[in-house]
């Protein structure tokens, strides 16, 4: 145990010192070059370590994964589109895709609605009440998905009829006279998936609230006053005046939550591991890789995930360029 701590300290000190020495050397190297060349080469030397890390950890593996997706389970022979066709034909994977689609449709919208509701309400409280309520709602962001799993297991837990219920939902439900329900196995209308989505909503609503609340505070008071003088109702003011002015932030929150949703792994893995029709694409990837030991299928699944993300990626890049042009 002390060895581990020592190793960590060595890693940090060595890593930081190593980086400093590396940049110093790169800089010295550039200064050896004749005048003009020094300025030409130096930017690339400053970028080199970061770009190397990104290439090694993201770009090269992404290309490699694309290649694996056309190969068999041990990546020893090419099989063409077999991984894709067999996945898309399988009932299980169709089910997984359908669930992922539900997550995409429901969660970002729900997070925005709840975040906006809380932001609007908290804005009407006094400073102390506002700060307290916002902190309480923001806090689940710091709690990781696995800890959230431990927390919510106690909400959804079930005991056989006749025994005392220890889960909050069943405690309330049986208290009202119902029979205990195994919530996480209740796949009718994908109710169990909805319950997992509630967990993500619980974790992310605070994030939406913080950004949206800041944006709402930025709406000029004059426009609100003018509308009030004209006799507009509060609802009209909100939808016709506030919402258009915080549009950019709404889009940002939507995109960010959407990206988070597509990568959702831990919640589903911890709570159900995809059983009872709750599987999503990121969990399926993990199980193909480790339970089925099938590199080909796993790679094909991530490539499909990547394809689903292309519209988001294009949007993101365009948004960035528009921002840069406005600078």
């Amino acid at each position: 145990m002390t060895i581990k701590i020592l190793n960590a300290i060595i890693a940090v000190v060595g890593g930081v010192l190593g980086a400093i020495v590396l940049y110093w050397l790169l800089n010295k190297l550039a200064e050896l070059l004749p005048g003009r060349w020094e300025d030409r080469v130096k930017p690339y030397l400053f970028l080199l370590p970061a770009v190397a890390a990104i290439s090694l950890y993201l770009i090269y593996p992404a290309i490699q994964t694309l290649i694996y997706s056309f190969a068999n389970k041990n990546s020893t022979a090419f099989v063409g589109f077999d991984n894709y066709t067999s996945l898309l034909k399988s009932q299980n994977f169709q089910n997984t895709l359908f669930n992922t689609l539900l997550w995409i449709i429901i969660v970002p919208a729900a997070v925005i609605v709840v975040g906006l509701l809380i932001a609007t309400l908290a804005d009407r409280l006094g400073p102390r009440g506002e700060k307290l309520s916002k902190t309480l709602i923001f806090l689940p962001m710091a709690i990781g998905a696995v800890s959230a799993g431990a927390i919510w297991k106690f909400v959804y837990a079930v005991r056989p009829p006749g025994q005392n219920q220890i889960g909050l939902f069943n405690g309330i439900f049986t208290g009202l006279g119902g029979d205990p329900v195994n919530w996480l196995q209740l796949s009718t209308l994908r109710f169990n998936s909805l319950l997992l989505m509630v967990m993500l909503l619980w974790m992310q609503a605070g994030f939406a609230m913080v950004l949206l609340s800041a944006a709402i505070k930025g709406v000029p008071t004059e426009t609100l006053e003018a509308a009030r003088l004209d006799g507009a109702a509060e609802g009209t003011i909100f939808f016709r005046i506030v919402v258009p002015q915080i549009r950019t932030t709404l889009i940002t929150v939507f995109i960010t939550v959407l990206i988070g949703v597509l990568k959702t792994f831990d919640i589903v893995y911890v709570m159900t591991n995809g059983r009872s029709k709750t599987n999503v694409i990121a969990v399926d990837f993990f199980n193909q890789l480790f339970t089925n030991r099938n590199n080909g299928n796993a790679a094909a699944i991530v490539v499909m995930l990547l394809i689903i993300m292309i519209p988001v990626l294009v949007f993101q890049v365009r948004q960035f360029r528009a921002e840069e042009a406005a600078r």
Partner: protein, 310 residues
Amino acid sequence: MSGTQAVTATPVQLPEQSTSIGSRRNRKRKHDPTAKSPMWVRIVLGLICLAWVIPTFGLAVTSFRAKDDAATSGWWTIFTTPSNFTRLTLKNYSDVFSQTDMGEAFVNSIAITVPATIIPILIAAFAAYAFSFMQFPGRDLLLIVIVGLLVVPTQVALVPLLKIYGALGLNGTLPAVWLTHIGFGMPLAVYIIRNYMSTLPKEVIESAKIDGASHFQTFWRLILPMSTPVLASFAIFQFLWVWNDLLNALIFAGQNSPLPVSLNRLIGSEGQGWQLLTAGGLFTMIVPIIVFLSLQRYFVRGLTAGSVKG
């Protein structure tokens, strides 16, 4: 950024003064500032807050209940049955250390999180400096690639990385995990820090140049100190993200499992006792919650990092 940690990647337009939770504008925004907030607002918001807190509260209460109590009655009974309240105990916490590997997992978590948080900062800051203050061919293209990579799920990298680490004999070691986090966190680090640096006044650089300072000196003496707020907010992000990460730890950590992996094992073996799971869960959350509460301001500023206009 796999998992569920959210990170804003798109720049947002926000007023500068609203970068901390609950900050108020100087101007009064309510039509009648002396009026108290309406009762229904307080009731609705109070109910929402309650709904947000109760699940965590239930876990916290259960973590102090004896094994049999936790298995045979709901945590809320401590309020209805006084004997359940008086039997609360700290035993679960000592059991978590003696009967599970949570203590060792805590050390592993620290040994993974600290290097993964600190090492990328300098590397990303140098790259961000080049993007902000130097002219070179390919700059915009490279930047757009980095923005694009913010969206790419890190799962694309896992299978090839397993093979590379396997060839190097790194699988199942702590460096395998933190090196991966450094690589995966790099696009966000460069992006956030660059967004901040590009709002710093260009005159500072120009006058430093006139005084004969090299880029290296300007970076070290001027830009890096001026960028501390954004470096701090990236560090908090990365810390929370790495501490709570399950996927990469499951794949690369092997026997050296950090807290989320150990906690997940406890959740899987729930039959052996809910009370250990709850104590372990609370133990796992405590560090990120402390970090979060004490550095909340930087964290929120990081969320709106793209928006800080000079």
